[in-house]
Symmetry: C3
Subunit: 157 residues, 3 copies
């Protein structure tokens, strides 16, 4: 039954993560991570080549908070909306208090006039650690199928 | 274990709901709702402003049936197909015999020549009640990321 | 509890299937099937008319392997990436050691310059059999909402 409970916890975590981003509650986003987390948005090409490059790269929760502050400052007016679809979540490794998880995602962007576009597709390659308040992301690598993303809009994914 | 069973019931409900719509079994659609249900398709903008407006708005199961009848009458020939993807379902509140649930959705439309477009993206904001035959929607608000939708095609979502 | 365990097994199976395809590990793909499996990609139109036609059609695991070999030979250079989103999985029939399952899917294609398109949408209509290593697909019908697909790229879905 431990497996079932863990599965429900993971699904709840990923659902909460996604709703946090889609509701533009960016200030709450760093709380999904451990203090010394690694967060990276990179291309599948770089990821598969083992390159540590990233379109976005943070190595602590503090850097994630700084990023949110910068995004808030830059985007005086932000009329887009983003919608995440996540599927095919699976645990790829399991250690005491630690899980490796991957999942597919698709992000759709809707602009003010109603036009919808495919903004990003790819997969999460994550390492989670058990913390007091539940699971936290110790590492989250957002591996984009595309080699690029609109960098002016390097929002969390 | 009650949590696990409830979770499976909810996933089954949302899967059945989606397959009902995508298979164009619209006559079965009102049966997912309580007799005095509220159903609404609205924009995120209106929803966040607390406006009770809706692109579609019904306050009983009977109105949902009338809507289906009207759609059947209007669409002499309906060559489109719709496909719902639903993810990130989560329970946001729980009371005796009642749940508040939200989930993300994406609807893709395929027209006769095979062209596929993003038809709608957004989230469900739902209130469910326990009934004899399982959970029913007492309230279902379809919150679109877009401010508009092709109103000639205001099909259930 | 048997229902819960079975549900987790199914979700794991579909997640593994999708990640296998999206990671282009096509040589592992036939292993998801029974030896005398039926695999078919067809249009909703043909499927609903009961026609046994298929854009892709295989009646054994060996034919699936041959297909992968042919794809490898043909695609000297394959710069696209595919991403599957699967949702609304449900069991539609259950017999001793056998399940009928359906689920919605969406496949997004990303080409080398980063352009993303909706490649395919539809549903899986599957029959699974219990085998030594877990569930296998005895029948998998990929029912496309579209009447056609880019046949030069008739990759597994």
């Amino acid at each position: 039954m431990a497996g079932t409970e863990q599965r429900l916890e993971l699904e709840a975590l990923y659902a909460d993560y996604v709703h946090c981003l889609d509701a533009d509650r960016l200030e709450a986003w760093p709380e999904f991570f451990t203090d010394n987390c690694h967060y990276r948005i990179t291309s599948a090409e770089n990821f598969e080549a083992g390159l540590p490059l990233g379109i976005v790269r943070a190595t602590s929760k503090k850097m994630l908070r700084d990023r949110v502050a910068a995004l808030r400052e830059a985007n005086v007016y932000e009329p887009q909306r983003y919608r995440h679809l996540v599927s095919s979540l699976r645990i790829t490794a399991e250690r005491a208090g630690e899980l490796e998880v991957e999942a597919n995602f698709l992000v759709v962007r809707t602009v003010q006039d109603g036009d919808m576009t495919l903004f990003a597709a790819g997969r999460y390659v994550d390492r989670l650690q058990r913390a007091a308040g539940g699971w936290k992301f110790a590492e989250k690598i957002v591996v984009l199928d595309s080699r690029q993303i609109d960098t002016l809009l390097a929002i969390p994914i």
